[in-house]
Amino acid sequence: MDEKKEFTPSIIYGLCSWCGTGGSETAGAMHLQYAENIRPFRVPCTGAIDPVYILRALIEGADGFAVSGCHPGDCHFDSGNYRARRRTAVLKSLLDTFGLDSERVWLRWVGHGEGKRFADTVNEFNDHIKEMGGNPLAKRRDT
């Protein structure tokens, strides 16, 4: 158990530049603490996150990948988040098909003002990945 506690997962957090990043700013303004080992990855819109980016991160060493953006109906570009949802669904069902831990990918909407929700999501995801342990793909040399 001790080993697990020491394990610091490397987590990439895909945030859209309107709501996701806004959420993280609000969390900062509210002085909320959240896990420091996440690496925010800012994109214009969650719809711009091609599943290949997520796959590449997971294959090259990330233990988890979370995606956050505007709530459905709030997308700055009208429909980007609906498309992101479809892409994530395809990716997750593919990962399930090949037994590659689809739970390492999370999609959760975070609004600009939802600082608490952002910090909670980060902490929850971080603990969730800690529980899951290291990503087996990250250490494989034959990928």
């Binding site: 603490q33 796959l55 590449r56 949802r85 395809v90 929700r117 929850e124 040399r141 990928t143």
Partner: protein, 378 residues
């Protein structure tokens, strides 16, 4: 209404006569179909006019050389054909054409799509290196009797969309009495073309429809069972990477894939090339690195891009020089991702590719809900 036409006689000759008749009556101007090459060991596609019909033209070749949808896409990518052109396609090629029409890589204007009940196809390598004459004979008997094709490709043995349903003209063999075929119109255009052709009219195609639905159920069960047992052999990082380990990163599978239409592929782009320094770092992190890298990324990434439209034609596996079971991997991936959207590629032209549309309320299972405030122990 004219439901179909039964034409007695040898099948391939009958189809060619029918096409020649259409050309002679100027109902169509050209035919696009495969013809045997001079060496007799393979097939290529030819666009043929009234006086240019090749003797070696074969409406139902025993192998799939170039995927028909690629040929049609090549013909119409820059605009429609001006004159009516008939295209002979296998059912999987027909479905790929429909998929490409949805993503605007094929213009269906003036095209008459003709498809037939396909018994399957031999692996390309087996045909070219084997005894073509003998394989031709086996194929022709299977085509006529509509029995299972011995030695067909894996995806063909588990094909569950084997009939030409949906095409403008369907060449019906299943449920027939042998020595002949039905011409079944699938659209107004097809009906017009069939009018005036000599043959016995049928108002009742129940025999055929029943036979098709019976076989569909059988094949669907077989497909699901085979894919399920195949899935067990590729589950988990260890198994999956072992399956892919013989891949030589040639990207042939994506090049021959009709659905992979992008002119600039992400996996061939500069985005994936990096400096030695960067690659060394990756190797350090992983304790070594297989080169060229991005093997798993290529296959999984390609699946996220096109598995929704994958028609399981098996062109990828035919093109694979390293015997990776690509077509089975994609059939499996396709089955599972298509099920999420209850989508079937090539079923109908009105059904949009799931990546291009969305619903306001859907896919809640794939979001992680925010149920309660999460307080971290500090």
């Amino acid at each position: 209404m004219n439901k179909g036409l039964w034409i007695e006689g040898p099948i391939k000759k009958g189809i060619l006569d029918f096409l020649n008749g259409l050309l002679a009556d100027q109902k169509i101007k050209a035919v696009l179909m495969p013809a045997k090459n001079k060496g007799g060991d393979s097939y290529a596609w030819f666009l043929m006019e009234k006086n240019g019909m090749l003797d070696s033209a074969d409406p139902a070749p025993p192998v799939m050389t170039t995927q028909g949808a690629n040929v049609v896409s090549y013909l119409t990518k820059k605009g429609p054909v001006w004159e009516k052109t008939a295209v002979l396609l296998r059912p999987c090629e027909y479905r790929a054409v429909i998929e490409l029409a949805k993503i605007k890589q094929v213009d269906l204007t003036n095209l008459v799509l003709i498809s037939f009940d396909c018994p399957g196809a031999f692996p390309l390598e087996k045909y070219i290196n084997g005894d073509p004459k003998k394989l031709d004979e086996i194929f022709d008997t299977c085509l006529e009797k509509q029995t299972e094709l011995e030695g067909a490709r894996n995806v063909c043995t588990i094909c569950h969309r084997f009939s030409g349903t949906g095409a403008d003209i369907e060449i019906g063999l299943i449920g027939g009495k042998g020595e002949g075929f039905w011409l079944v119109p699938g659209s107004r255009q097809g009906e017009e073309l069939i009018e005036g052709v000599a043959g016995s009219k049928t108002d009742n195609l129940d025999v055929r429809e029943n036979a098709i639905s019976e076989r569909t159920i059988l094949q669907e069960t077989k497909r699901n069972n085979m894919l399920d047992s195949f899935q067990e052999t590729v589950m988990g990082p260890e198994n999956l990477l072992n399956t892919l380990s013989s891949c030589i990163n040639c990207h042939n599978c994506s090049r021959v894939c009709p659905i992979c239409f992008c002119r600039e592929c992400y996996f061939d782009s500069k985005a994936l090339s990096s400096e030695a320094d960067n690659i060394l770092q990756r190797a350090q992190r992983k304790g070594g690195l297989r080169l060229p890298p991005d093997l798993l990324l290529f296959h999984l990434g390609r699946m996220t891009h096109m598995s929704l439209s994958c028609v399981s034609c098996g062109a990828c596996e035919d093109a694979c020089p390293a015997d990776v079971p690509v077509s089975m991997l994609f059939a499996l991936a396709g089955r599972n991702t298509q099920a999420v959207f209850e989508y079937e590629p090539g079923r109908s032209q009105d059904e949009a590719v799931p990546h291009t549309v969305f619903k306001f309320e859907e896919l809640k299972d794939f979001e992680t809900p925010y149920i309660k405030e999460y307080s971290k122990e500090q």
